[in-house]
């Protein structure tokens, strides 16, 4: 009956809208991957004379007091393109920066780029990708399998210069260490000299962000009070070149 589908439609959509706050993407309550910073946005294939090596720094949010182990990870997906390569986790590079509501963890690894005959160049841009993966495991906050790709262009390709830039991003509102009440505008300034657009992503330890992919949006504390840690990430749409910024403030 029509009445049935009316109720189903409203019930379904209301559930979608009403229950989403229970598990929101931007809410950090456990180990959460934030992104991967590569020291090179794009790279060329290795040669015997010039092996290409990329250093990757893996960023994650970590609840206070927990510890992390890192090990290489092989993605099981067969549909995503790219040449797999084994990551070497660099011992002694794990760093934990303490922030108000969670720690910022990062660890580095090294990726050897294969030679040209081991790569598959495709698409209008004629680029190849090299896949990597790392698994971060904590004692009590779960684990994260992080995968990504490094973009490779043939030696002499124009993109090796036009896409070489690493972006920057900075949170311009609210101010660091501010004490604030109620809904807040949150603003980030992101830029790159590379020929690609940037995707932004906000993370926070409570409340709700209206549009977590917008450069300027609002944060609603809902019931969150006390220390708040806010993170913004920026990544290149073509290369994945990465940057992040973190601030702490207090919600009254």
């Amino acid at each position: 009956m029509m009445r049935t589908h009316f109720f189903v439609l409203v019930l379904g959509l209301s559930t979608f809208a009403c229950n989403g706050d229970a598990d929101r993407y931007e809410d950090i309550q456990k180990l959460r991957a934030l992104g991967v910073l590569s020291d090179k946005a794009v790279v060329e294939p290795s040669t015997t004379a010039t092996p290409q090596v990329v250093t990757l720094t893996f960023y994650a949010a970590l609840p206070h007091g927990d510890t992390v182990t890192a090990e290489p990870y092989q993605d099981t997906a067969t549909s995503s393109g790219g040449t797999p390569a084994t990551l070497t986790v660099n011992a002694g590079t794990a760093v934990v920066e303490t922030h108000a509501s969670f720690d910022l963890y990062h660890v580095s690894g090294t990726l050897n780029i294969p030679p040209v005959d081991a790569l598959v160049f495709r698409g209008l841009d004629q680029n190849a990708t090299v896949k990597y993966g790392i698994k971060l495991t904590t004692k009590s906050s779960g684990s994260q399998n992080i995968v990504g790709s490094v973009v490779v262009y043939q030696s002499g390709a124009a993109q090796l210069k036009s896409l070489a830039a690493i972006p920057t991003v900075k949170i311009t509102a609210p101010a660091k260490s501010a004490a604030l009440s109620g809904k807040q505008d949150i603003v980030a300034a992101a830029s790159t000299t590379g020929a690609e657009t940037l995707r932004l992503g906000w993370f926070v330890n409570g409340g709700e962000i209206k549009n977590r992919n917008a450069a300027a949006t609002t944060w609603d504390p809902i019931k969150t009070t006390g220390a708040v840690t806010l993170v913004v990430t920026a990544r290149g749409a073509k290369t994945g070149a990465f940057a992040l910024d973190v601030i702490d403030f207090t919600a009254n």
Partner: protein, 764 residues
Amino acid sequence: MASTCRRWPWVAGTLLQATLVSLWTTKLQAQTPAVGAPMTPATAATAPAAAATSTVTLKVRIKGSGAPVSRAEITMPDGKKLFTGKDGDVQLNLPTGDGQIRVYRPGQEPELRDIAELRGKDRVEIFLLPATPTDNEVIVRGEKRPEASRKTITIAEAVKVAPGGDPAQIPKLLPGVQSRSFSPDIVVRGSGPADSLYRVDNYDMPFIFHRIGNLSVIPPQMLADVEFSTGGFGSQYGNVTGGVVVLHTRSDVPETPKFEFKINIPFYSALYYETPVNDGKDLLAASVRRSYLEAFLPLVLKKSGADLTVVPFFGDEHLYYYHPTDDGHVKIIATHAYDGLHLLFPSDDATSPSGKATFDFKTSFELIGVEWKKSLDKDWSMTLSPNVFNNDNVIDVIDNNIDIKVRGIVVHADFTRKLDGKNRLYLGSELGYGVANIYVVAPVIDNNDPFFDPASAPKRKVSETATYTSAAGWVATDRYLGDLLLTPGIRPFYYSQMKKGGYDPRLNWRYQLDQDNSLKGAVGQYSEAAQFQDVDKVFGNPDLKYIRSMHYILGLETAWSDRWLSDVQVFYKEINGLVRSDPVTVKNNNGKLISSGFELFIRRNVTERLFGWVAYTYSRNREQDAPKKHYHDGQYDQTHVFNLVGDYKLTPIWDLGGRLVYHTGDTYTGVDHSVYNANLDKYQAREGLNTQPYNQRLPAYHELDIYAERDILFDTSKLTWRFGVEYLALQRQAQGVRNNYDYTKTTYFRGAPPIPYVELRGAI
């Protein structure tokens, strides 16, 4: 954000409907003409003493419609019997003295009237109430049909028990069919919703169900019956591997005009009018339906605190003309149907600062069709059915756009030749031509690009005009060899998007074991052209081949009595060349499906008192996605499906009925783990290395829907209240699964709670 669940406003709707009934009743009482016109003073002055004879015209009518009752029996006090004419009238010579007349017609309650009450009046109207229903006579028998899996359900049955009172959804309650409560689409013996054929007579409607309203686009008043086949159908149907649903329009002319309305708050209203024309020889009918959800829904959502905007709407209008001739008929149908939806909802893929994404959808079509049925001579008859149509589809999702307009003409021509005895020869053709204007702005899916994100991938713009042609012919014959009926047939075809043709040979047979038992079966090939988007040079693979299926069916039909029929079947169906995604060619024909099972159908034929049926299906549907890969459970696989349906007329004005549905839970592919894709800042599901598709199953589903109907009869009109509850279940049923953002939590998406409803219909 605290969310509250608010009660739905059906109480307000019920109160409004009650008010409407009150106003309606008052208006009718004011309008009801006084019967038995009083004598004029002149007549009274000249009237003899009470003992003198007089004449009166008796007008016998059906209460609730005012339709004249022909052949009503009038028994006079002296036992003499008279009968009303075609117009329901009879002239009575009233005898002297006292006494009573008795007015009676089978199916109606007898009326007694005193002679004294009639004396001195020129005309008296008598309205007969419906009689207490009996179980004595079968009104409609489940007929034996030459095709192995075909079943026919009358509209009278369908409007009572079908979901939504919608005859087109009756197949959901028949064997061989999987269904979902929230969707009118059906899965037939493992074949998906797009793999079955829906027709109204010989017209392929661009869509048969309102996407938003979930009702079929044809109002039930224009229909006579619903014919449904789950497979093994004859050569007259093609280009599908699943089933065939045909809604037959009516072929009768009413005696009097009728106007019906339906008010369903807060969803839609419907008006229907039919009248005999051309001196009562022809039927003209018109119908209009329109939703008004869009006015109520935003208010409900706002009050519930939901952070979204939903504006759905749908409607349809129809004109239908039926002209019977001495050797056939002419039918003309003109239809306009439309659906639309505007959604504004919070989404991670939103590009606006508000964080909300938009979804706009509108589809509509207009169709004009003519059916001309004629006997050419004593042996040949012909049915010619041309139709023209125009179909618009617009979808806007975030910043993607699809706009497809199709105009076309299709002509069906069917010929039947009587051979010797009951043997027949059937010939037919189906020719179609269309023009499609396609405009698409969307990302081309590239699974090999690890940075591919549909939300932000570069868009491809495609703007083109394409023409298509379709041509099919068919030949079949009914050959009786004693008690064995063989119906071999062949169907050649060509569909321009495939750039090649083919042919499907088929055989139906039936063997009459004895008077009550028939053994029947079918074997045949059923081919289907790939969808247009799958052969598109940008979004698909132009080199795809036809999808081919083979059907094998064996069954036994038994008439246990004139009340009870049973139909038991086993079936095996193999479909090769199913379209699958391909990393190199975009699409390929590597998919395969094997569907096999057993069906039981027990039918209680319709009497005045009762009708119903039980349908049970056991089936296994296994798929293979590429050669040499393992078979796995299919996307559509409900192992057990059970439907119990019935309607019982308690009294002449009270009906009770309902349907009980049970089926094994639907399959879905479980998520073994997830990864965080740093390229996209998104979590992606991953299956285990040995995970098969559709390896998980929802809990079994059950649902009970019950209703009561009560007629309120006025002299020339009727109101019908329908009260009921839908989605009664031991707990809210799982309809699907949803995962949280990182696939660490899987919850069931639960269906609706029990929903009580009230509906009011009226007929004048």
